[in-house]
Every structure is written in C-alpha cells, then in structure tokens.
C-alpha cells in the first residue's frame, strides 16, 4: 500500500514457477536487496496494468508457513504485517496434491488471496485435466489455470487479481476447520486464542501452528495472554504430541476432497530419464556433474563474448582520448583519471557484465530446467559437511575459471547465508589469472620443481577452504541451522529462452550501477596512490611501501614485491607486469596492472636476478590466495548485497594471503 499502489505478494513452494510469474509480470522493473535487518533476499518489482500501478513482492520460496527458517518467518511476517493488499498463492498443476499444501497452510490467514494453478502445460502433457471452476466454488477465491511462461496470456491472471482486490476474496476454510475440530482438544485450544491476536490470523490458524509446535507463534500468544487463559492455553497445547503429523493429515485430506471431482486421476509412474540415470549413478554421477558445469561455463561464453568485445571499445577509446587531452594541454591528472581510471574501469566492467550475463543465463537455465536440483542431490553429502547445499559445488568449479563467474553463479543458492559462505570459500580457488602466471613464474624460478609448487598450491587451497569453512561457517550457517536435505527434484522442463533473457538483462542493468559504485572508487584510490607524475619514486605507494618494508620483509616481501602484491588485488594478471615495471624503472604501476605498459626486454632475467627463491615462492602463494580482483569483489557485493560481508571477506583474504606468504617464505628459507 505504498503511494496508492496495490501490493501483491507471491507465495508458493519452490518449483511452483513463482519466479517465472514474477519475472513475467515485472520484466526489467525489479530490485533485489535484503529484507530489512534480515539475512534473507528480498525481490521487489512493479508493473502497470490498465493504468494502475502495482508493486509485486516475490516472497521466498518455502515449503510451508512454519517457523523452520528465516525465509518462512520473513514470509509470514510480511503477510501479517498488512503490507500486502492481496496474496497470490501458486501451486504446480502437475503435482497439485502436494503443492497445494501451501494453500492449506495459508488457510486461516485473513488477507485476501487468489490461487494460480501454474504449469498448466506440464499437467496437460501428463494427461491431467483440471477443473478450475470447481475448485473455485469450493474455495471461494478466484482460481486460474495458467502457464506463467506464456507471458502473452496473462489476461485471466489480471482478471483474478482485480476480482480478489475489489471483492477482497478470502479463503473458505469451513471444511478444513471441520477436520481440525475432530482432533481431540482442538476446540478447547482454539477457544483460548482470540481472533487476530496476531494481526491477520484467525484463531484456527494460530491453534494449528500451536499444535505444530511453532515456537514463534506460541511465544507471541503466550506474550499476550494473561492469567487463567494463559494457563489453559498452555495445558491444552501440551496435550498434542507430534502435532505436525495430525494437522498434516487434515490438510492433505482436505486437499484430496478439494481435488476429488475436479482433477482426473492419472497415476504417475516414475520415468527415470537417461540423464537422471547418469546423474544419479553411484560411480559416475559426480564426474557427469563436473562435465556439465564445465560445459555450462563454456556455453556461457557464447552470449558473453560479443558483450565482452564491446568492453574493448573503451580500451581502444582511451588512445585517441589521451592524444586529444594531451594535445589540449590537459593536466596529466585529468588525463590519467579519464583514460586510466574511468575508461579502463568501464572496459573491465563491461567485460565483467558480459561474463556475468552469460553465466546467469546458462545457470539460470540449469535452475529453470530442473538440472540444478540434480546437481544439488549429487553433491549434497560433500557440501553439507561445510554447511552448504549441494549446488554450492558449482561456484567452486566455475571459480577455477574465474571468480567473477563463481560469485555470479552463486545466485542460484536460495539461502543468503549459504550464498555468502559459498562465495567466501570460492575465493580460495585459484582463478584463471593465477593459473596463467603461476606455472610460468614457477617454471622460471624452479624449473621442473614447478610441478611441486602447483601441487602445494592445490593442497593449500583445500586447507584454506577447510579453515575458512570453519571460521565463516560458525557465524553464517550455525550448527542448529544445519539439517539434512529434504528437496524436490522437479520434472525436467523445457527452458523458455525469451523470458529468461528478459529477466537476466534486467538483472544485468541493475548490476551495472552497483558494480560501477565499487570498481571506480577502488581503481581511483589505487590510481591516486600509484600516481607519481614521473618516476615511480614520486608515488604515495612507493613511500608507503618503502616505509613499511621492514614489516613486509617478515612476510618475505621487499617493497617491490609488496607493491605487486597490492596491485594483484586489482588484477592478478598485472602482478608480474608491476614487478617488471618496478625493476626496470619503466612504465607505471597502474599501466602494468592493466597491461598497457610497453614490453620490457629480458623481463624474466630481470626478475630472476632481483628476487630470491624463497621470496618468489612466498610471492606466488601470496598472490594466488589474495583477493581475486576488484571485479570479483564487485561481483561479491552484487550477489551478497552486503558491503559489510564483502569488506570482511576482502580483509580476511588480504590478511590470509600475508599469513600464507609468511609461512611459505620461512619454509622456503629452510629448504632452499
């Protein structure tokens, strides 16, 4: 009810096509953030229909309205807060009996609602015929049979929306109440709870939640009741054992009656597809998943590359702009900021967006098609040891290629805390840029022993992930919040590219503004620090590096190495270039990071003669486990929506890299 706009809340179980409807309704007009004060993602959007403006809240996809998770509590609180004018409840037509559970759990909440029987196309393919009018006559609310993927056919949806809003249609639950009242002690318990004790909730709903052992609802009721009625409430509540089973049976028997004469009973048999056979294979399943993810990563480059090439325009543009500015006698500071900071950053940002766009499109398809749930199943045992869902394996694998992609692909993780933990761990995976320079450096310094360096790096990676999982896991995914998997593996759907494309484009636009806010300031700061006006000694970075050299030497880094280490937080590719620039006294640090310096002859010789073996070894580990790059940092901020956690992860990795460097350096001194 903001500014006279009507607010619609979308409520449905996972795989009910809630996100598809949300994207279909709002298109590009959506905003993703976190619920105020909660670690739960909030998706809000808007649309205009017949001149009326609407706000759409995509409530978290949960299986019920109990207090089992933050997501469910957020959902419930939003509905009872009165902020929604109408609740749109979604069910999956192909699994109607099971997915109507949400409706039965909603029954007793007094906020106007209507029901969408989504995925009508899938149900029709299964030979199911559903009579929406019959269901409607029993429920007393508008019921629409539709496919949210068919964006052009939303007429019935809008008609139902208008009816629900204008008539304030609420669910007729008399037949469900009749079932509850047969439970021994239900009526006595219900009699003690006044209507609307929790706003928007009937006595029936509160009694049901009490029986189910819902601690949050019980606490709220106990808080408001006093004297004898509190004593009676507690004693009636204590009579129920395993209440969720009792109410669950009532709910499902109500659903059965609801569907008895409105859906033809087609007995579904399980058909295990070839893909499922391969994926769930005990021996090969994991290999198949890894291959699929790698395939997805490669596939994501097809839409990504044209956009990434566009980024090159900004790099190319820097040359004539620099010439023009120099010709116009502009100050070197202005020229530097425009060409080196802004244009170069824009080039990197566009490249990143292109990559993230490709990743989100492909992995969004994995999610939409049902493949992601299989991946989650296959890796559940491995990842749950770290408090993560099975699908967290994907960001890890993608991070071997690029941490930006790793962070972006974490979008499919539907729990915010697990998402942040996944990204925090994926940063420890050495990315493509590290793989591009480390083997070469190692071969230059240690010849054939380079293989040992690589193996050591992989072992340190595993150790790093293990330790980081302990440190971050304790705070992010608490022990009491870790429980076994209970997850639906939906039937495979044919993905709809059009709707997905529109949605991912919308998110990419949103992403652009967020990422610019991170990358430009960080690059500007680094540029100012490295700005010298002439030789490198003039820069602040040099002065700082020189001053703290006694400290950095403990970590095995002289000032040159330390500067290159700092520069590697902007981009790892540049680390060697920075060293070359510093030792050859040519080019600029900033230019080295972006690879715009002129090539230096004999650069390998230059490094070998200036850097000792232990120093080189320590440096390789330090840059490998440093912050991946400024763009990955921006991608992390984009996906977590949390400046705090992005800063914590960044600080942790900078410190961690220094500690690793310290240890490696001293081991190096012992063995070399």
């Amino acid at each position: 009810m903001t500014d006279g706009k009507k607010t619609i809340a979308l409520l449905g179980q996972p795989n009910s096509g809630k996100s598809t409807l949300f994207n279909g309704l709002t298109g590009m007009k959506q905003h993703v953030g976190n619920w105020p004060g909660k670690t739960v993602e909030q998706k809000q959007g808007g649309f205009t229909h017949n001149g009326e403006e609407y706000v759409v809240m995509d409530l978290p996809g949960t299986y019920s309205l109990s207090a089992n998770s933050d997501e469910e509590i957020v959902t419930r609180d939003f509905i009872s807060s009165g902020k929604a004018d109408v609740v749109c409840i979604l069910a999956d037509s192909s699994q109607l009996e099971r997915s109507l559970f949400m409706l039965s759990d909603y029954a007793g909440i007094n906020v106007p609602c209507f029901l969408i029987l989504n995925l009508a196309d899938v149900a029709a393919d299964q030979g199911k015929t559903i009579n929406a009018d019959k269901i409607r006559s029993k429920l007393g609310i508008p019921v629409v049979l539709m496919s949210a993927t068919d964006v052009k056919k939303y007429d019935n949806f809008f008609a139902a929306l208008n009816e629900a809003l204008s008539k304030k249609t609420t669910l007729d639950i008399s037949s469900l109440e009749a079932k509850y009242s047969k439970l021994d002690g239900f009526e006595e318990l219900k009699a003690e709870i006044p209507e609307n004790l929790i706003p928007g909730c009937s006595s029936t709903w509160m009694a049901v939640k009490t029986i189910e052992g819902d601690k949050v609802v019980r606490a709220k009721i106990e808080n408001k009741l006093t004297g004898d009625s509190l004593v009676r409430y507690n004693s009636h509540a204590a009579r129920f054992d395993k209440g969720a089973l009792l109410t669950g049976e009532c709910k499902f028997s109500w659903i059965d009656e609801l569907l008895s004469d409105s859906v033809n009973k087609v007995t579904q048999t399980v058909k295990t597809s070839k893909l499922d056979k391969a994926l769930t294979n005990k021996t090969w399943g994991k290999t198949v998943v890894v291959l699929i993810v790698i395939g997805g990563l490669l596939l994501s480059f097809i839409p990504a590359i044209p956009i990434m090439l566009l980024g090159g325009i900004f790099t190319a543009l820097a040359v004539p702009v620099r010439e023009a500015l120099t010709a116009a006698n502009a100050s070197p500071i202005v020229t530097g900021i425009i060409c080196d900071v802004i244009l170069q950053s824009l080039a990197n940002i566009v490249k990143m967006l292109g990559f993230a766009f490709g990743i989100n499109l492909v992995f969004g398809m994995f999610e939409e098609s049902g493949l992601m749930a299989r991946i989650s199943y296959v890796f559940d045992n491995t990842m749950s040891k770290m408090g993560l869902q099975g699908k967290s394996i994907m960001p890890f694998l993608v991070s071997f290629g690029c941490t930006i992609g790793g962070a972006s692909s974490s979008r499919v993780i539907d729990n915010w805390n697990q998402k942040v933990l996944t990204i925090a761990l994926a940063w420890a995976v050495p990315c493509g840029a590290a793989w591009a320079i480390i083997p070469m450096l190692a071969a230059n310094f240690f010849g054939g022993y380079a293989v040992l360096v690589i193996i050591a790096i992989l072992l340190v990676m595993l150790l790093h992930i293990w330790i980081t999982a302990k440190i971050f896991g304790r705070k992010l995914v608490k022990k009491e919040d870790r429980y076994g998997i209970i997850m639906e593996l939906p039937p495979y759907h044919k993905p709809k590219w059009g709707a997905m494309l529109r949605f991912v484009l919308g998110r990419t636009k949103d992403m652009f503004f967020r990422v610019v806010k991170v990358i430009i300031p960080v690059c500007l700061l680094f540029w100012i620090l490295s700005y010298s006006g002439g030789n490198i000694e003039g820069s602040l970075l040099y002065k700082i590096g020189k001053t703290i050299e006694p400290v950095t030497k403990v970590f095995g880094m002289n000032w040159q190495l330390f500067m290159a280490f700092l520069a590697s937080s902007i981009g790892k590719e540049g680390a060697v270039g920075v060293l070359t620039a510093l030792y050859s006294q040519s080019g600029t640090i900033y230019g080295a990071v972006n690879g715009t310096n002129a090539a230096v002859a004999n650069s390998t010789q230059l490094l070998l003669s200036n850097i000792s073996g232990p120093q080189a070894l320590a440096f390789m580990f330090a840059i490998t486990f440093n912050v991946p790059c400024v763009v990955a940092l921006a991608a992390t901020y984009q996906e977590t929506h949390s400046a705090k956690w992005t800063a914590i992860i960044t600080g942790y990795y900078t410190l961690g890299a220094l500690i690793i460097s310290f240890i490696v350096y001293h081991i190096g001194l012992l063995i070399m």
């Binding site: 019920s64 109990s66 559970f101 819902d214 399980v270 559940d380 076994g484």
Partner: protein, 77 residues
C-alpha cells in the same frame, strides 16, 4: 514395518509413522510425506541422499533422518 533408510531400491510401501522433533515433522509433512501416503524408493546409495517418489513427486531425503520414517511394506521386501 521398516525404517525408510533400510528399504532397498524399488521397494515401496505405506508410511506408517514418523518420529522426530517438531521442526523435522513440520518440514517432512510440508513436502508431502504424512502417515498413510504411498512411497517408493528410487535410489538408496551409500554417501548419497535417498531418492523417493510420493504424491507424484521425486524427493531427495537425508538418509540418516529417514530412519525416522517407518514404512509398512507389502511383501516383506
């Protein structure tokens, strides 16, 4: 009557009872597993969640937690 996690691949039966704390009971009923419902084991491999089929739905369940679900099987499978 057997615990669900003891059932082999392709065996089926009717859920007789479910144990566990309030949270587990609430989570398991909300995905559709309640006493009286028909359930079929699709996969029960070591070091993997179980895969079961019930109410037209394929569901992955933590094997250890599935000990809580007691199933009446037909022919002593």
């Amino acid at each position: 009557m057997k615990s669900l996690n003891e059932l082999k691949q392709n065996s089926e039966g009717i859920v007789a009872s479910i144990d566990g704390d309030a949270r587990y009971l609430s989570r398991i009923t909300s995905i559709g597993i309640t006493p009286g419902c028909h359930i079929k084991v699709l996969k029960n491999d070591k070091n993997r969640p179980m895969l079961v089929f019930m109410r037209d739905t394929m569901v992955a369940l933590n094997t250890e937690e599935s000990r809580n679900i007691k199933v009446e099987t037909r022919d002593n499978q």
